[in-house]
Amino acid sequence: MTKEYNKYKGRLPSNVLEEVREKTKGMPEGRVNNILKEVCSEYNKARVEPGESVGLVGAESIGEPGTQMTLNTFHFAGVAEMNVTVGLPRIIEILDGRKKIKTPMMEIFLNKPWSNGKDIRHLALSIKETTMKEIMTDLAVNIVESKIELRLDNAAMKDVGVTPGNVTEALGKQLRGVSIKKKDDLIVIKMKSKEGSVGDVSKVKEKIKDVFVRGVKGITQVLPVKRNDEFIIIAAGSNLRDVLPLKEVDETRTITNDVFETAEVLGVEAARQIIINEVNKVIDTQGLNVDLRHIMLVADTMSFSGDVKGITRYGIVSEKASVLARASFETPIKHIVNAALVGEVDNLNSVVENVMLNQPVPVGTGLPGLVTKVK
């Protein structure tokens, strides 16, 4: 039996072959052979024919439903309301390959027992970035003695699980040239240097507000939700590098919607998958229907060079081989002058150039070499 399958190795993709093997278990050899033959011919029929302009068809297939997309932003209902960029702006953001996206978000999956809901609220809050301004009620400056007094908000501290000890430690680490003393709820910060001016004190005061106390930097909001019998944390803000090593986090499934961060932390293949998933998510939520393979082609084009490049004049368009094709997109003078400087040669191998010259374009019937000898 395996001999039969081996014959088709290389002619059918392994997962298709595996599926046929599963389904044909226990069938007589002749029948399996016929099935394999049929599958093979169906597979070949489904493949894209040579000379098909897949890129353009992909662009049209994404672009046409794109005209129907709405520009609404989507609101999460819940304790912590989050805004998410969706619709056309999000698609533009992904395909342009923006380094800084408008609403970075993470889906943090958890290991057991946290995924069952153990301490979920507490855990979520401990991941959230907490700064001093969230856990203090009062910030008073005493200019005469050049000291600052701040009162801690016990309720807020309890909420995020911060002890006064954590606070003094964080303050001590992140503020320079000050001494810190603790009296009950009150923390007194005194300038070490005697001749410190009023400006210095107020500078320190501003700094105190942004002192990072606890959590993961960049995570501004957290929302524990139950999804398919397990608890996950949805976070606004993204910091894959610092979240993944946490012992509570399932690092195999935790993802971010930031393509560049994914490429940096997990590599370009992961980034490619994120592009596909994110574009597909937008198209799905808008109730549109685009074949996944069009999106995959776009993601491949954006990532095949080894790092993520947007579909812009700085990204993949700048890598087109033809001067005329680049010049016809954006900033023509730049491309033509640079091409003239190095004596670039345009071999007229793609569509736009040939349209400009009124020559047959090398797709479809423009490729007679595929069926006959032409030279």
Binding site: L56, V57, V337, M356, Q359, P360, G364, T365, L367
Partner: protein, 601 residues
């Protein structure tokens, strides 16, 4: 608390008690001690009071309210009715004041007298105040979604009507006149205010809401040929042709006359046949495409260059005004006068009757615009049990998705008005009630929902469904096919690019755009794409040695390269002229575009 005080955006000082200050300012203004042109706005958050007295602010009148009681009383209303007092009296008495945008921010304005509470500072004179002029002309507008009311109001601005009574002596550009305009049966208050009786812009039609063989699908309408013959939607289009005898340097002038045959650019005797001795066409002449309306010649363009070489005396140029492509009509009016510089100025007004045809645009007043899809002989039109044939058939599919209920109510209202011989009031928020209209319709002997038994005009069979028939005001819009129809197979090209000209006036080509191009590529129809884009193809000789464009000497029938000479291989290639042009532009920039030629196949 001190608040900053600004006068017309300039800081002028501080105010200790802003509330009292504003209160005093307003009461002094209402008394007339401060000009009514001033407005005061208080931005509490910013701690700013701004007084505005500059020109160009949009302001609107409101009734002042004190302690929940409007200052306008029954007494005022009675005096107004008797014409004893006027608008300015009300302003002086502090009954009405104008607010600008800044002061409006601090006001609480009641929509109607019913909802007045003690907090209110002002009362709308009428709820209609929130609409503009044309929006107020939409009857029953409060029954229809805003976007449709908006469209209805925009459509009315494009309606043909009777724009000015002195149209006969005017030389307006692009004017249309409706032949038999009517005052609408269903009116709003605004119709009486703006003088609708003097400037009507539509006609009351009998409308049936039904399908007619699909000729009224997708917003099309079917029109009764008999109604058109009786004058439905008939209009006249006026367009003046203007030219002046210009003066040029060297004492040369244009001359309005019948051009001599020697003149450069002489058309043909036939084209000038309608001109009289003075070179101008006579009134009531029937003209069509190419006919000259005003004969004119101009002096030669480059006088000095011609002197040396031209053997004959410098010939004058033909510069007549002719009827442009696709136009026709009758000369309506000829005017000979002078322009500001004292040059002779000739204006000829052309008139053309426009009878509704397939493609002309019509609309009701509810954003239900449509294009004529079919003109049906009256004998083939459906008819009601009482023998009425509708003037127009409107598709029921236009209603559910757009929810223009006002359209339907106007149909009923129009029917009641036509049968009872009175006008119906459709003023927004104050209209006659739908139920009252229905009751009246019932009492007039029709079904209260407006439906009637209708018979098929061609077979005489009774339709199984009852058809909604009523009267409503329809407008003919200025977009008519006769002004827009355009097609081209061959025609003029641009001098520079050798590509077809653009636009109807220049008999231009219809562009196959970027996205249309993409569809050919997507289908792999490579050679069809090439053919579509070969409107500017040229044969260019190329020198194989230097890769630049060579020269073909047609006289000696040989090609040579201006750089490499005769002894080089020169090949003709077929490329678009636009590409040859860009190569020339590269050369002018000092870029050397070298073409390397190989055989493609």
């Amino acid at each position: 608390m001190t608040v900053e005080l600004y006068l017309n955006g300039k800081y002028v000082g501080g105010v200790e008690d802003p509330v009292l200050f504003i209160e005093q300012f307003k009461s002094e203004r209402r008394k007339g001690n401060i000009s009514a042109n001033n407005n005061i706005g208080y931005n509490e958050k910013a701690g700013k009071i701004s007084i505005e007295s500059s020109k160009g602010r949009a302001r609107r009148p409101l009734i002042i309210v004190k302690d929940g009681i409007p200052m306008l009383t029954e007494k005022h209303v009675k005096q107004l009715e008797k014409d004893e007092i006027g608008w300015s009296d009300l302003m002086h008495q502090g009954v009405i004041e104008f607010l600008d945008a800044g002061e409006e921010e601090n006001a609480l304005i009641a929509f109607s007298e019913k909802e007045l509470r003690s907090e209110h500072t002002h009362l709308e004179i009428t709820p209609m105040n929130m609409f503009g002029l044309t929006t107020s002309l939409v009857p029953f507008a409060n029954h229809t979604p805003t976007p449709r009311v908006n469209m209805g109001s925009k459509n009315q601005k494009q309606a043909l009507g009777f724009y000015a009574a002195n149209y006969l002596v005017r030389m307006d550009m692009d004017v249309n006149l409706l032949h038999s305009p009517q005052v609408p049966i269903v009116k709003t208050m605004m119709h009486d205010i703006y003088g609708d009786e003097h400037h009507p812009a539509g006609q009351n039609l009998v409308v049936a809401v039904m399908s007619y063989d699909g000729y009224n699908m997708e917003d099309a309408i079917v029109i009764n040929k008999g109604s058109i013959d009786r004058g439905l939607g008939r209009s006249t289009y006026y367009r003046p042709s203007i030219t002046a005898e210009l003066r040029y340097s060297g004492g040369l002038v244009d001359e309005i006359s019948i051009p001599d045959k020697e003149v450069k650019g002489y058309k043909s005797e036939h084209d000038y046949r309608l001109l009289e001795k003075d070179g101008i066409i006579y009134p009531e002449a029937k003209i069509s495409e190419g006919d000259v309306i005003i004969g004119k010649t101009s002096p030669p363009r480059f006088l000095s260059s011609l002197d040396e070489y031209n053997l004959a005396a410098a010939t004058r140029r033909e510069s007549s005004v002719a009827v442009s492509h696709g136009e026709q009509g009758v000369v309506d009016f000829v005017l000979i006068t002078e322009n500001e510089e004292g040059n002779k100025l000739v204006q000829v007004r052309i008139r053309d009757q426009r009878i509704p045809e397939i493609g002309d645009k019509f609309t009701s007043r509810h954003g239900q615009k449509g294009v004529v899809g079919l003109i049906v002989p009256q004998s083939d039109m459906p008819f009601t049990a009482s023998g009425i044939t509708p003037d127009l058939i409107f598709s029921p599919h236009g209603i559910p998705s757009r929810m223009t209920i006002s359209h339907l109510i106007e149909l009923i209202g129009g029917k009641v008005g036509a049968l009872a011989g009175r006008n119906i009031d459709g003023t927004t928020f104050h209209s006659e009630k739908e139920m009252d209209l229905r009751k009246e319709l019932l009492s007039l002997g029709f079904k209260d929902d407006g439906v009637e038994t209708v018979y098929n005009g061609r077979t005489g069979e009774c339709y199984r469904a009852k058809i909604f028939v009523g009267n409503m005001y329809y407008l003919k819009l200025k977009h008519m096919v006769a002004n827009k129809i355009h097609a081209r197979a061959r025609g003029p090209i641009q001098l520079l690019t050798r590509q077809p000209t653009e636009g109807r006036a220049k008999e231009g080509g219809l562009r196959l755009g970027e996205m249309e191009k993409d569809t050919f590529v997507a289908h792999g129809a490579s050679l069809l794409l090439k053919e579509r884009f070969d409107s500017d193809k040229t044969l260019v000789p190329v020198c194989e040695q230097c890769g630049l464009i060579a020269i073909h000497d047609a006289h000696k029938n040989r090609s040579y390269c201006p750089i490499c000479g005769d002894n080089v291989e020169i090949t003709n290639i077929e490329i678009s002229y636009a590409f040859k042009l860009i190569l020339d532009e590269f050369k002018s920039l000092g870029i050397y575009p070298k073409m390397g030629l190989t055989h493609k196949y």
